[in-house]
Amino acid sequence: MKSIEVVARTVDEAIAEALHKLQADREEVEVTILDEGNKGFLGILGSKQAKVLVEKKSPLYELKLERALEFVKELLAQMEIPAEVVGEANLESVNLQIQGDGLGVLIGRRGQTLESLQYITSLAVNRQGGDWIRINLDIGDYRAKREETLRSLAQRAAMKVESTGRRVALDAMNAAERRIVHQELQEFGGVITQSEGQEPYRRVVILPD
């Protein structure tokens, strides 16, 4: 949190100057009046300048990021898994990455453990007041790699459907993974995709168009 102390003739002037220096709006800051000041006799004798402390409040996502980092670090400590956690945040989401060796246990079968970790982190971070924010958790570059794998899998399956004229059902996937497959094949002429079955066995089926 950025904060400055400003001395000026009046409280209002001091605040205005502080806002200018911090390049902030009035609602983005917290003001503490350290000294009301007084104009003194005829504005000369015994006059005292006003003094204010103006702090720029962190945006909500910064607080959520802090909370998320703290939560995941403590969770890993409790699981006795040595790993680093880094993150950044913006208006839309808090993005965390767990880094370290041998973290397969945190990913789990078909990324199930990772999904659970992300879900619990989101609940813990969004439980207390403030707006809900999306939490994205990754372990190493698991998600990026997985996405690449899914895209090439989708392409290969679609080519097979095209050449054989028969439908191909992919393995069961969660909603996010199915979406990647649907997206990948949107531009692929000659086939259509749809999801079939009930969670957690719901799968993408590719059909000749």
Partner: protein, 78 residues
């Protein structure tokens, strides 16, 4: 393991001071019962048991290393 269950429980409950974990050895597995305030049951179980399932997945993953079988139950604290 007990601390992990307690930490997750306290992080999700509205009444963390009411969270209590009891461990019980049942032969080949250890059962951890997470007791929470009655009004927190929904927060710990979730729609269709989604939250409870996520908690179990994480606790089980943590148990893999130690090679023990664990089970997590969630119950109201009386």
């Amino acid at each position: 393991m007990k601390n992990l269950v307690e930490f997750i429980g306290k992080s999700l409950a509205d009444n963390p001071d009411q969270v209590l974990v009891e461990a019980e050895d049942r032969g080949h597995e250890t059962v951890y019962t997470l007791y929470v305030a009655p009004e927190d049951m929904g927060r710990l179980i979730g729609k269709g048991g989604r939250i409870a399932k996520a908690i179990r997945t994480v606790v089980k993953a943590s148990a893999i290393k130690s090679g023990v079988q664990v089970h997590v139950e969630i119950d109201e604290r009386h």
